[in-house]
Subunit: 884 residues, 2 copies
């Protein structure tokens, strides 16, 4: 019976064998196969590791195969493992399928012992080098393989150094090293061990140690954090030792085939002359610029340049290379894809495609949406000395520094002389919008990812940290206490909405802009994607930005945001406090021309593209002042009533607040429920839409308004509203018809379940995944994010925050159902998504897969959405081809 | 070409032809066919009506068939339509498939004119009778057929009466009637009409008028209110006139074959001698007891008794009969199922089965659950003079009178001397439970159908009217203003929780009890039903009641209600305000023995039956005092701080209230989310359950505890809790194992969608349809019921309140999915429902149809639930047979 194959020579492996041979092993094999110079070696498979970990012993045949592989290394190098004259030394290195840098073990110089060390000494003519290599083996083997605490070796080293007054290991001479070797042997015996003099024992034990290191605590923790599966196991590479520390014609270094920071096409490398790889990692000596190598060891330099080019062309990507030069001879020790900055990532992908090395599709697949996104917001440039004074929810990305201001009123005043204001509030309300518009960033003590501050910040594209529960804002005193410090108006902080951190003082930020290569990449993405990309825009200004960023329409214009200006909210409040339908209509008539003007601007801006306008959605109490403040005001007025007029007004206000108060406003009297019970509100809005559309049409521009009803859960809601509002529409059109669509949000579970009936009254569906997620999970986002959601992710109950990425199993299943049922009863129906998740790449991939027509995201996320849509289309086409 | 058949003779119809011939026509045909004496007649079908309404003309052949039918009436009666000597007179009566009493038109005496009236006069020898019949035809025909306003005829009648000083129509002599007939003819000509002298014209026009009356405004409104479909149409019965007003040997009357009030087996009838049917309806004369008929017209009496018996035996039900006696000859004019009181309904069904006239299954199908329910609550006995002082939500059925009391404290004091207390509060909280327990009924100004007051009232089985927004309760002043009146403590009111009305003063109520026949019926129901019936019980007292009412287990014991006593809520609040896990555990340890004692009582009471205990569900802030009151207290303490201790405590309390405050508590930090983040709470509860189970088991009683986790939306929640809690369970069991089940509520849409995964960790599912409905619809019940739900039902958007009866299309679809997926991955899973809807008959039918194992309802609803379950089983078996 022949045993399984557990050991691979280079010629038997290659880049495709990553799972079996690990990244390092596959890279060595690939390099060897394409004719590059790598030190001879073999790779034991991950399967052997898995087998070992399962049965606590090497699988049958593995060691035999290893020894026969070792023989072939001996043949190639002409050296012999354990030979006292010309001994072969090997490194035993871990190498997992997924990179886990520094997490697992490696033992160098295996094969050295009291005898072979002498062989090395005489062969190299460098006794110090030989002894130093030997003591390193003793130290590494002792701690890694036998588990002797490192300290015990370090102590001995320190003893000798201090007794001689040495400061560096390099000061140790032959004598000292000999004494150290003896001391190390004593450490072994004191710990109950003896160093295995037989190189084969060393090898066997080293392999076993590397296998075991897969399950070390730190490796397991790393995998958990990085979501790497536990079952893979590590390969073991046994490679003949190459020494970069054999004199001035030796060296070791790393190289990136392009600039990892900018993406520029130039070799980006550093090296240390007369050094070993671990010296580079240890950072004891400062590496030299690669240009020196050109003059120092010109042949090796040429080899490096040539190898880099070959590898990049071969892998069709920017590569990260480790190399060593032993006595003038150039060896490649490792190759892998090079890590790069977000900016570099885009430039490299575009350049590679332009150079013809990859296709445009491959370029698009090379840049993740997260990478693109990272290039779009200002980021803080940290030195590490910054003081974090608070942490909260990262509600709106980007960073900004400015002076603290505790009220919108003050912010507006200060904005006349002060440019950069950070508005800090316990929480923001409709009253704060003007103050927010003059500020550069926001910080709140309360509220979640959909709190007023968070939503407005994202809409304004300004950084915000919200729900920083640890701080205490005292608006009256104009102070905030943050981690023991009390800050006042005018104190400077930096708000990093990407991380949720707040820093004391001003920290420089790097401004973002879509660069040349980014635009090129996006134009390629546009040619591949199937999904339309629209933007959510609540004001004409946002519509302009959306258009600039390449939106193909507005997927959601929330009309309620239009009622927030000083004058408008006054009218809105009067409307809400109206005591009769007539009074209410009077105020609505005041709002009508304002809405007409909003919509006219919208339609003009979005010429040629559809604009979905959602009729009033939030509960009316959102337009009223805060209850607690009103209560406080009332209590004070009761003590000092003055002429009683203000008291009376406040009492009336409080009674309206109370009557509109709800136990669970999210599930209360809002959306189409309002529209149905107060017909005049939606009627005004629809009239404004048609009137604006007619006005724009008269200017010769084409426009497609889509009227969207929020919060529909029953077909009869939509049916009734459509009948009622189409009367108004036709009345307003008169003899001048305009094209329009009439449709609904799908944001209530029942709407998904009954989508077939609802589709019969609807020209389009737009998924509101925020509310849909809230109701499908039974989570109030504002409450959940502060109270238990983070803990749920931490405990592994949820893989991720379902408000950021659609929950495919639950919410997604309902969406699938809605699409299926909706299209069945109304095949021509247009279906999109306008929740915030519409800008999330994973969600976009999902939306592509269930056959949506478009996604709508924040104007700032449009580039990301386009890229994600293109990648989804390319991946599914690929899968399609494979399947076919 | 022969035309369709539109006209039926009696021998061609029968009881099965109700859709085609209407209720009246089918009854006449059936009676005739079984040999009872009915006046000769024919019936024009509902199809003819539909045809007419569609095309605005009679269908081809209909009038020919009518005339040939008329001929057969002529042959039978020996009279001739339009004959001046021996004229046939007919009534033209509407008769729809579903009874719509008084909604559609009927014309009597068709066939009379200036000539035939003389024939009648001489034939009957009663000229006054003939003229009176003629003027009635003129009046009826004019108003019904031609649409001449009734007033114009009434005016003329009044003129003649007043000019002669008459008070009654009966005072009119031959002379006056002749003058009246002339006056009526003038009314016709003044209105632009002339009375059609030709009897055939009369007939044609009368038929058309009856057809048209199907679509009269009042008929349409009636159908809308009573949910009768619009498409059915009415049949038209043309029946030869029988006159009960031809002397003392003539009479007219109505009879029920059994006592419609008590159900007793005795003829229950009244009659008017020498009168026409319309006189009975008009109520001008007081009818005589049927015993008089036995002596007055003994033959007719015998005929009536015999006919009643025949009809009841034939229809196998209590029947409502109309009869007329013309010159001693007995005629049956109509038969239909008799309306009866709820009590009578049960007695009749049981008696009929005992008499062998129907099967037990038929008896069960004869009593609706609503009927049974109506016999179970006390009902007010109204005289019509009662003063309604308020109306609110009918939150808990039944009625009670008592003296108003404005605080629980006072209620407890007063209860020592005063038995009947009605507790009135703006709204109730946990603090009011003791006060509620000494009161007989509740009235609140705020809150919906799931407000604290409503839920506690239903659990206590006491009447409650909640959310009576129109009243103003001033607790400090101890007054309530109700429709202009100000009431004080001690004033007496009656609360009717069945209708939501509150009356001034004490109104007698009829006490309910399950009567002998009810128990018999239920024992039959038990033998047919498939669904198990459990009860929701929150206290041991309720468990005892549940057992008494026949529950086969507890489907839901909410543990939170157990923390509401004075002492317990104090500990609970301390637990919530704990600043460390240790402190929290200390308080939980104080609660542990109390929980053990609760559960021990539960398990003892429910010996042999399963008891599902739901671990803590509501958000913690529900156990804390009201925020507004605390704020007010704080403001006052800030003015008068005293030694500052109370101020400090109140500040701390407020800060805890604030930290637990939520935007949407229903979707917030509650249920298993609490249990996961504060493991010690559920651990204490589970320990108490197992400890109690062991104690009861030691007494030799068998018991099956089922531990239920609330608000699960993701399988990982259940998986984690099960792993965590089963450790505690096994620890607590030690060497003394007890059998238990571990399962979950299904009350979140996501739980339905992912029921297959969840079922892998669950021994049972229990649908929480209240929360499931809230989340599936996106309705907060407390908000929706006060704000828009009633309007939605009124507008026809919803057919009914989805919180009372499960919404089969939406919520039901998710339930179906959950059952299907749950059983697929765990075929042995036990599935029930414990929402309040579990006691709703329609919901029970649905639960049977989707294959649930049991329903759990309020202890008070168990009889209703049993009946509903039996009816569902019988119906579906029947359908099964038909299908087979």
């Amino acid at each position: 019976m022949t045993s399984k194959k557990y050991v691979y020579s280079y010629s038997e492996g290659g880049r495709q064998s990553v799972d079996l041979l690990g990244g390092k092993g596959a890279g060595l094999a690939e390099m060897s196969n394409i004719g590059l110079n790598v030190p001879p070696g073999i790779t034991i498979t991950t399967e052997a590791c898995r087998d070992y970990l399962k049965n606590s012993k090497f699988p049958d045949g593995m060691m035999d195969q290893t020894l026969s592989g070792l023989k072939s290394i001996e043949r190639t190098t002409g050296k012999k493992f354990g030979d006292r004259k010309n001994p072969l030394l090997v490194s035993v290195r871990s190498g997992a399928p997924v990179s886990m840098p520094g997490m697992m073990d490696t033992i160098l110089n295996v094969g050295l012992n009291g005898e072979t060390v002498e062989g090395i000494a005489s062969l190299t003519g460098n006794r110090r080098f030989a002894l130093d290599s030997y003591r390193r083996l003793l130290q590494m083997f002792g701690s890694v393989v036998l588990g002797i605490p490192k300290d015990r070796f370090e102590e001995k080293l320190e003893e000798i150094k201090s007794s001689n007054g040495f400061r560096s290991d390099l000061d140790l001479g032959v004598e000292h090293l000999s004494r150290l070797i003896e001391a190390y042997h004593r450490v072994y015996s004191d710990s109950g061990f003896s160093f295995p003099e037989d190189p084969h024992d060393q090898l066997t034990m080293a392999i076993e140690a590397v296998f075991r290191s897969w399950n070390s605590d730190r490796a397991k923790a790393y995998r958990e954090i990085n979501r790497i599966p536990d079952h893979m196991g590590t390969a073991v590479n046994i490679v003949s030792m190459i020494f970069g520390n054999m004199g001035n014609d030796s060296a070791t270094g790393v190289a990136f085939t392009r600039d990892a920071n900018t993406g520029e096409k130039r070799l980006f490398a550093e090296y240390l002359p007369n050094a070993q790889g671990e010296d580079v990692v240890a950072g004891i000596r400062t590496p030299k610029h690669i240009e020196s190598l050109r003059t120092e060891i010109p042949d090796a330099y040429e080899d490096l340049v040539k190898s880099a080019e070959i590898l990049e062309n071969h892998y069709k990507d920017m590569m990260d290379i480790e190399f060593t030069i032993e006595k003038g001879k150039f060896y490649l020790l490792q190759v892998r894809k090079g890590k790069r900055s977000a900016r570099a990532s885009i430039r490299i992908a575009v350049d590679l495609a332009k150079e013809g090395k990859i296709s445009r599709k491959e370029a698009v697949m090379m840049v993740t949406p997260e990478t693109l996104r990272a290039t779009l917001y200002p980021i803080v440039k940290l030195t590490g000395n910054e003081k974090i004074v608070a942490e909260g929810l990262a509600a709106s990305p980007g960073a900004a520094s400015g002076r603290l201001c505790f009220s919108s009123q003050r912010a507006i005043e200060l904005s006349k002389k002060e440019k950069a204001i950070i508005l800090i509030r316990p929480e923001t309300t409709a009253d704060d919008v003007r103050g927010m518009s003059v500020s550069v960033g926001f910080l709140t003590q309360k509220g979640g990812m959909t709190s007023h501050a968070a939503v407005v910040a994202r809409a304004m594209g300004k950084p915000a940290v919200v729900g920083a529960e640890e701080i205490r804002v005292d608006v009256n005193a104009g102070t905030v206490s943050m981690r023991g410090e009390v800050l006042h108006e005018g104190d400077t902080v930096t708000v990093d909405g990407t991380t949720g951190r707040v820093y004391r003082g001003s920290i420089p930020t790097e401004e973002a802009s879509m660069q040349g290569e980014g635009e090129v990449l996006l134009s390629w993405a546009d040619s591949f994607r199937k999904l339309g990309i629209r933007a959510n825009a609540n004001t004409p200004a946002e519509a302009i930005l959306a258009r600039k960023n390449g939106a193909e329409g507005i997927g959601l214009a929330r009309t309620e945001r239009m009622f927030l200006g000083d004058e408008r909210i006054r009218i809105m409040r009067s409307m809400i406090m109206s005591e009769s339908t007539e009074e209410r209509k009077r105020y609505l008539n005041q709002l009508l021309p304002m809405q007409v003007s909003d919509f006219t601007e919208f339609f003009s801006t979005m010429e040629g593209f559809p604009v979905i306008i959602r009729l009033l959605d939030p509960p009316l109490h959102e337009f009223l002042p805060d209850k607690e403040e009103t209560l406080r005001k009332l209590f004070n007025l009761q003590k000092n009533p003055g002429d009683g007029r203000e008291l009376k007004e406040t009492e009336r206000l409080l009674s309206v607040i109370r009557s509109l108060e709800e136990f669970n406003p999210m599930l209360g009297f809002r959306g189409c429920r309002l529209g149905i019970l107060y017909p005049e509100i939606y009627e005004m809005q629809v009239r404004a839409i048609i009137s604006a559309a007619k006005a724009v049409k008269r200017t010769g521009k084409s426009i497609l308004p889509e009227i969207m009803i929020p919060l529909v859960g029953h077909e009869n809601e939509l049916k009734l509203l459509r009948e009622r509002l189409e009367k108004v529409i036709h009345d307003e059109m008169g003899s001048d018809p305009v094209e329009y669509k009439f449709g609904t949000m799908i944001e209530i579970p029942r709407a998904c379940v009954t989508a077939d009936s609802i589709a019969r009254h609807s020209d389009f569906f737009s998924f509101g995944t925020n509310d849909l997620t809230q109701m499908t999970f039974g989570y109030s986002r504002d409450d959940a994010e502060g109270k238990f959601l983070a803990k749920y992710v931490e405990l592994g109950i949820l893989k991720m925050d379902p408000f950021e990425t659609v929950d495919e199993t639950g919410v997604g299943e309902l969406m699938r159902m809605a699409v299926r049922k909706g299209k069945k009863s109304n095949p021509g129906i247009e279906i999109g998504i306008c929740g915030e998740q519409g800008g999330d790449p994973e969600t976009i991939t999902f939306c592509h897969s269930i056959g949506l027509d478009y996604v709508s995201s924040s104007p700032y996320r449009i580039p990301v959405a386009k890229l994600a849509a293109a990648r989804a289309a390319i991946s599914s086409r690929k899968r399609g081809q494979t399947a076919g």
